[in-house]
Each structure stands twice: as C-alpha cells, then as structure tokens.
Symmetry: C2
Subunit: 226 residues, 2 copies
DNA sequence: CGTGTCATTGATATGGCTCAAGTTTTGTGG
DNA sequence: CCACAAAACTTGAGCCATATCAATGACACG
C-alpha cells in the first residue's frame, strides 16, 4: 500500500488534521515548551493516574491515549491525542488519568507552575488556555452523548469524527488497534467488529486494512449517526 | 417532617453544598452579574440548544438541568446545576444544550461579550474562569466513566456524588424526579427504581420519600460503587 | 516460514429495556 | 379537610442488544 512506504513522521503529520481542531493561536502567542521533546515507544507511559500533575504535554508526533483503568480490568480511553493536542491541561493537583503512546510518539512538556505563572502575565495566553479547555469540555460533553447511543451509532459517530477533518480524503487512518477503539466507545471488540463488517456489507465503508478504513457513502453514515 | 416547614430558600441553600464545589474565588474577584436576577417556574426554559450563546448564567436558587434531546425522543441530562454553579461558561457561538428549571429557580445572567471583555482586563478573573472550566471538564470526564458502569454502579455513584458534600447529614435531598435521574445516568426509570428498591432491601438506604433518600450504610455503598 | 498478535465470526448468556399493571403521592377544587 | 384526578413511582413478565465464550482466520515480524 501507499501508506506503508510513507515515513512515520509523514503519517503523523497527516493525522494531525484528524480528530480535533484547536482554536487558532492568538497572534504573538506561543507556548514554548521548556523541556526538550521526548520520544515514547509504543505502549510506553507518559504518566499514571493519581501521580502529581507536574507537567502539561503537547503532542508533536504520533498518538497518545489517555485512559482510566477500572478495578474489574476494563479500561476507558477518554481521548486519542494527536499532534497539536494538549494533555492534562485541566489537571489540578494530580493527573486524573493515565497516558501512554499508541504508536511511537514525541511530546513536549512544560511545568504546570511555570505555564500558569506565564499565563498570569499574559492575558492572551490565559485566554488561549481557556479556549482550549472549553473546547475540550465540549468534546467530553459530546462523548457523554455518544455513550448513550446504540453500538452502531457509536461506531458511526466515531468514524464521522475521525473523517470529519478531511472530507476530501476518504481514507481513514486509524493508528490504534480495535481494543483501543472499543475501550473508547464502551464496546467490546467483537461488537465493534460486527458493526464494521455490517457497514462493509452494506457497501458504506471498506476495511482496507487493520488501520485503514475507506468511506464510500458519507451520506449513509450521516443518516445512521444519531 | 422538618424539611417541609423550611422555606424553599433554606432548602436551596442547603442544596448548594451538594453535588459540586467551585474553586474558591480569588480575593478581590467577583463576577457581578449585570442582569437582574430572574426567576423561572418549574420546567421553564432558560435557553434552547443551538440558540446564540448570549449569556452565561449563575444559579442563585433552585436547580437547573442542562440537556440534549435525541431525535428518537430520548434525553440526556448533562448536569444538575445548583446554587453557585455556572451554566454555559464553555459555550462559544451557540449553546450546546438546553437548560430549564427542575424546581422554581432564580438565576443571574451576564452577557458573554461583557464577561470576556472584563476578563481580558483582569488576570484574576481570567484565572477564575479557567479554574471553573477545568473543574467542569473533570466533572464531564468522570461522567464519561460513570456511563460505562453497570446500572447498580451508576446509581450508587450518583448517590455517593450527591451525598459526598455533606457527610454528616445522611439525608439526601433530590429536587428532581426519577425520569431526570434516569436521563442523567442513561437508565430507564424502571431500572433505576429496581436498583433503589434492591438497595433498600439490602438495608443500605431508605427511600423516605420521592425526594429524600437516607443512607444507612455508606461503607456498603462505597464497596458497590466502581 | 513459523509464531504470536490482532481481527473476525459464530453460539449462547444476560443485563437492562419495553410493555403493562398496579400503587403511592401530589395537586386541585369544593 | 376531604374527594378526586393526574402525575410519579414501583413491580412483574418477556424480549432484545450487546457481552461472553469459543473457534478460526489473517497479518506482521523475527
């Protein structure tokens, strides 16, 4: 496939347009992250739930998942963070979730206290942080609604969300495995797989490979979603 | 009962300690709301989903529910807002949900543009808004996790959340009806009722009246929750 | 070119929903 | 204060969507 000969960096840049759009950075504002970029291997942990929230992270390359583990062994993935996304911006004293790398990834970190001290001196930065946090809140509220839908609606919503950023390109590139998607949507991998197969059977999508889904009928997806 | 001879205002003030705790207002900061307090009757609407987000609200008395309606007639209640809580602080151009009064309520409103203009001049206010929004985000994230749990765990979590603020007083006062709680937890009223009855049968709680639940065994609740 | 991981598909079980009936509480008018 | 009606709640029976358990299939990687 074409994908397989592209570098990880190229793929990561493509993915940057998927999933989330951050509010434009106000002119003159940039959070320059004082810690050198750090790379994480697949499944390597950035931080754990309940640890003191020392840093805020920004994804540069790859995909980071944030999640909570239940004591019955299940897992809830709250978000897949892609290049440009911030992680743990809303934390107070402790991290409210774990974060680890879905694929080899690079992130930058900034000490929370330093960031907040800077923000205190810069209204524009302060406003930017508020915008990002409000956006994240709306995203979480949307996800709440998603979790009340049927299995099919959840999967379709997920596909639409992922595809939403780049309407021209119907090839959805999913860096994560089925178990991750299932843990994000609150479904088992079997149910997820069955829904995807059904959508393929209805000629709405094609499962080109594990990590690539092609959308054939966006209208049908929109009709099925919520 | 003692409750019944207390005024609505007194009850409302009691409830203010339930559900949510807002971050302390930084010294010298207060959002003085420029619109006179306005009262809403039971089920009266503050604003609808998709309307231009002109105002941010703060609850003074009563209980406001925020919700989304699905096209199949179901409803998702995102939050029960009690005295001290802000509503629609995270909105951008349009309201992302409806808001109406669970019981007769009083709120104050401020024009979003005015609030943001003031915040631009006041780092302390700006920081306060960021704190409130981050807190709301953590609340929404918690709710996501709740929606993945079993019916019993959801109900128990809800009871613990409601009871959490006032450990001394085991009487939980619920201003809303069963349908509201069901729509908040993603359960039908029948399932909710069955779980509550089971908990009562196990002598963990008592259903004193429709709007009052007594907790007998907090330890058992904590064991059942999550 | 085998071996382990990930994904799909099938068969069965089950938790919560739906439909339905009955009970309790609340509200209203006399 | 009572009678009645409407709304809210509880309980039961059966069903359905999704989970669970189990087997097979398809890659990716050494």
């Amino acid at each position: 496939m074409l994908d397989s000969i592209e570098s990880a960096q190229t793929l990561a840049r493509k993915r940057a347009r998927l999933f989330r759009v951050l509010p434009p950075i106000p002119a003159g504002i940039s959070i320059d992250f004082i810690i050198a970029p750090r790379s994480f291997a697949r499944n390597e942990e950035l931080f754990g739930e309940g640890e003191p929230a020392e840093f805020v992270y920004k994804v540069e390359v790859g995909c980071i998942r944030t999640y909570n583990s239940f004591n019955d062994g299940r897992r809830y993935i709250g978000a897949f963070c892609l290049p440009g996304d911030y992680i743990a911006l809303e934390a107070s004293r402790k991290y409210g979730y774990c974060a680890d790398a879905v694929v080899p990834s690079t992130v930058r970190a900034i000490n929370r206290n330093i960031l907040m001290a800077r923000a205190a001196k810069s209204p524009a930065l302060q406003k930017y942080l508020l915008n990002v946090t409000a956006l994240e809140l709306r995203r979480a509220q949307n996800h709440n609604r998603l979790l009340l839908m049927s299995a099919e609606e959840r999967v379709v919503s997920f596909l639409l969300e992922v595809a939403g950023r780049d309407r021209r390109l119907n090839n959805i590139d999913l860096p994560m495995v089925r178990q991750d998607i299932g843990d994000h949507l609150g479904l088992t991998i079997e149910t997820l797989s069955r829904v995807l197969s059904r959508l393929e059977g209805a000629s709405i999508i094609s499962l080109r490979s594990r990590h690539c889904i092609v959308i054939h009928d966006l209208g049908a997806l929109n009709r099925l979603g919520s």
